[in-house]
C-alpha cells in the first residue's frame, strides 16, 4: 500500500541538515561540486535528495 506522507517544513529542513552533515559539506560546497561535474559516490545520492527537498520546500 502506497500512502501519502505529509511532511512539514521543519521535517524537510531537519532532513536537509542531516544529509549535509552525513557527507560533511555545506550546501554551497555540494552545489559547487555538482556544477563542476565532480560528484562522486554518495555525493550523488545526497545531491539528488537535496534537490527533492528543495522542490518540496519551494512550493
Amino acid at each position: 500500500m502506497t500512502c501519502v506522507q505529509n511532511v512539514s517544513r521543519r521535517d524537510l529542513d531537519k532532513r536537509r541538515r542531516q544529509i549535509l552533515a552525513d557527507i560533511g559539506m555545506s550546501y554551497e560546497e555540494l552545489a559547487a561540486r555538482a556544477a563542476a561535474r565532480s560528484l562522486v559516490g554518495d555525493e550523488w545520492a545526497a545531491w539528488e535528495e537535496i534537490k527533492e527537498i528543495d522542490f518540496l520546500r519551494n512550493g
Partner: protein, 230 residues
C-alpha cells in the same frame, strides 16, 4: 473548474499506486511498497522509501541500483497533476554513481526538457568537444541528449524495459504485459496532452476519421512552448 485538494490527494495516490504496482510486477527483489509519496502543501515527490535506490539483480546478483524520482504539482490551470521533474537513474553498486540518467524538467529553458545523460568515456568525443570549445569536454555525461521533448519523452515503462531487455537485469515472470499496460496508460495521457496543445490539428484529424467536431468560440490557444521547445 479547479480540482480541490482532495482531488489532488486522489490523483497523487493513484499515480503512486500505479508506479508501485508496475515496479513490483516487473523487477524482482524490491521492497514492498517500492515507492513512498512525500507531500508538502501542493507539491509531491514519488520515489523509493527513505530515498534509498532500488536494487537490480542480474542472475540473482545485486549489481546495480535504480533511483526514480518524480516531482509533481497541480498544473498551471489547477486541474491536473503535472510532472515538474523526473529522474530515472541506473547506478553501479561498485561506485554508487550513475551510469545512465533519463531526466525530464518541465520548465527547462536552455536544455532539452527530456534528455539522457550517459556516463562513459570516449577519447574521440572528448577530443572533438575540446576542439569545439565545450565547457566539459572530458565529461560525456555533461551532454543532454534530447529524447522527444515534454510530450514524447520515454516513460518509466521504457526505462524498465531497457533495464530488462538491453541491460539483461532479472525480471519478474509476465513483466512484459505490465509494461505494455503501463505504457498504454502513459501514452494515452500524453496523447490527451498533445490534443490540448494542438486542438485544431486534433479536430482536423478527427474529422478525417469521420467524427463530427464543432469548434468552440473562442478557439482554444495552441501551446507554442510544447510545440517549439526541444
Amino acid at each position: 473548474m479547479s480540482k480541490t485538494p482532495g482531488d489532488l490527494q486522489q490523483q497523487v495516490e493513484e499515480f503512486g499506486r500505479e508506479t508501485a504496482e508496475l515496479l513490483l510486477a516487473t523487477l524482482p527483489g524490491l521492497p514492498d511498497p517500492p515507492v513512498r509519496i512525500l507531500q508538502h502543501e501542493t507539491r509531491t515527490i514519488i520515489g523509493p522509501p527513505g530515498s534509498k535506490p532500488l536494487p537490480l539483480y542480474a542472475k540473482g546478483q545485486h549489481l546495480a541500483d535504480m533511483k526514480i524520482s518524480i516531482a509533481c504539482q497541480l498544473d498551471s490551470v489547477g486541474r491536473y497533476l503535472a510532472v515538474e521533474e523526473s529522474t530515472f537513474n541506473l547506478l553501479a553498486v561498485l561506485d554508487r554513481a550513475p551510469v545512465l540518467r533519463i531526466h525530464y524538467r518541465r520548465e527547462a529553458n536552455v536544455r532539452p526538457s527530456a534528455h539522457v545523460h550517459f556516463h562513459g568515456h570516449r577519447g574521440a568525443l572528448s577530443h572533438l568537444l575540446s576542439q569545439a570549445g565545450h565547457d566539459y569536454p572530458h565529461d560525456m555525461s555533461s551532454l543532454h541528449i534530447p529524447v522527444g521533448g515534454s510530450r514524447f519523452r520515454p516513460g518509466l515503462e521504457d526505462f524498465i524495459q531497457f533495464l530488462i531487455c538491453e541491460c539483461k537485469f532479472d525480471a519478474e515472470p509476465g513483466w512484459h504485459k505490465h509494461v505494455e499496460a503501463g505504457r498504454e496508460r502513459w501514452r494515452c495521457r500524453q496523447a490527451a496532452a498533445v490534443v490540448r496543445d494542438v486542438p485544431e490539428e486534433a479536430a482536423r484529424v478527427l474529422r478525417e476519421l469521420g467524427y463530427t467536431v464543432e469548434a468552440p468560440d473562442p478557439l482554444p490557444r495552441t501551446a507554442d512552448k510544447a510545440l517549439h521547445h526541444w
